[in-house]
């Protein structure tokens, strides 16, 4: 039993194994392997659209525009209904006077 083994005697077995494996040599990644990994990564992401062109983003924008249009269209008749104007002629200063008095 070495000095190091004596130190590990009181430690949990799982921790001892983890510490031993941490001391193992780091796997060597050659330049060739590095290039292959980079090439695979590029091929994987080549067909992917930028974030702003992905469908969910456009769908959100379209939904916002539609909601805005509908809200505005729904709001206009309500405003017109509240105006004390006669519908048979264009608005003029007498309508402004009526509104100003309210």
């Amino acid at each position: 039993m070495t000095h190091n083994d004596d130190e590990f005697e009181e430690l949990p077995e799982a921790l001892v194994e983890a510490l031993k494996s941490a001391n193992e040599a780091v796997p060597l990644i050659t330049a060739r392997v590095d290039r292959e990994v980079l090439k695979m990564a590029r091929e994987q992401f080549a067909g992917r659209k930028p974030a702003w062109r992905r469908r969910p983003a456009w769908a959100a924008v379209a939904a916002t525009v539609l909601i805005t249009i509908f809200v505005v269209q729904l709001d206009q008749p309500m405003q017109q209904a509240n105006l004390p104007m006669r519908a048979a002629r264009p608005a003029d200063i007498s309508d402004v006077l009526t509104l100003a008095r309210e």
């Binding site: 003029d92 200063i93 007498s94 402004v96 006077l97 009526t98 100003a100 008095r101």
Partner: protein, 151 residues
């Protein structure tokens, strides 16, 4: 080639000369607008144009009634840009009925720039005039060019 060049230069001179002559005949005048109503008027609106096409509105001034103390409403942007070859002017008052004007009263003065050799042929009509209660009243509108010729 030289003939064409000379003709082009002469044509250009003729064109510039013509527009210069038009610009030289620019003059300014003011038109007083009068409203005549038996009942007190709480709101009025008129349109002034020019059949001859020689006028541009350069400003609008309020009338004589204290009930309409400020300059009336009109398209200030068109006037500022010199594009008002006709104008709609309107105003209303929230004053008490006893303070509203009746009879013949100057409601506005329109300041004009006239250009060209022709005289202006003004076209003035009353869009509406209403009483304190908001009822359309039977009013008459007329104008007086500052030279003194009322029409």
């Amino acid at each position: 080639m030289k003939k064409w060049l000379v003709a082009l230069v002469l044509l250009s001179l003729g064109t510039f000369g013509h527009s210069y002559a038009d610009d030289a005949n620019i003059r300014f005048t003011a038109v007083d607008i009068y409203l005549d109503s038996a009942e007190p008027v709480a709101a009025w609106q008129f349109e002034l144009g020019d059949r001859a096409g020689v006028m541009k509105v350069v400003g609008v001034e309020q009338g004589d009634s204290p009930a309409y103390a400020h300059a009336p409403y009109y398209d200030r942007e068109a006037v500022r840009l010199g594009e008002a070859d006709r104008i709609i002017v309107a105003d209303y008052s929230l004053a008490d009925v006893v303070e509203l004007p009746s009879g013949r009263v100057r409601v506005a003065t329109v300041h004009l720039m006239l250009s060209g050799d022709d005289d202006a042929d003004f076209n003035l009509f009353l869009v509406t005039a209403t009483t304190y209660d908001g009822v359309v009243t039977d009013a008459r509108i007329s104008f007086d060019v500052r030279t003194g010729s009322e029409q």
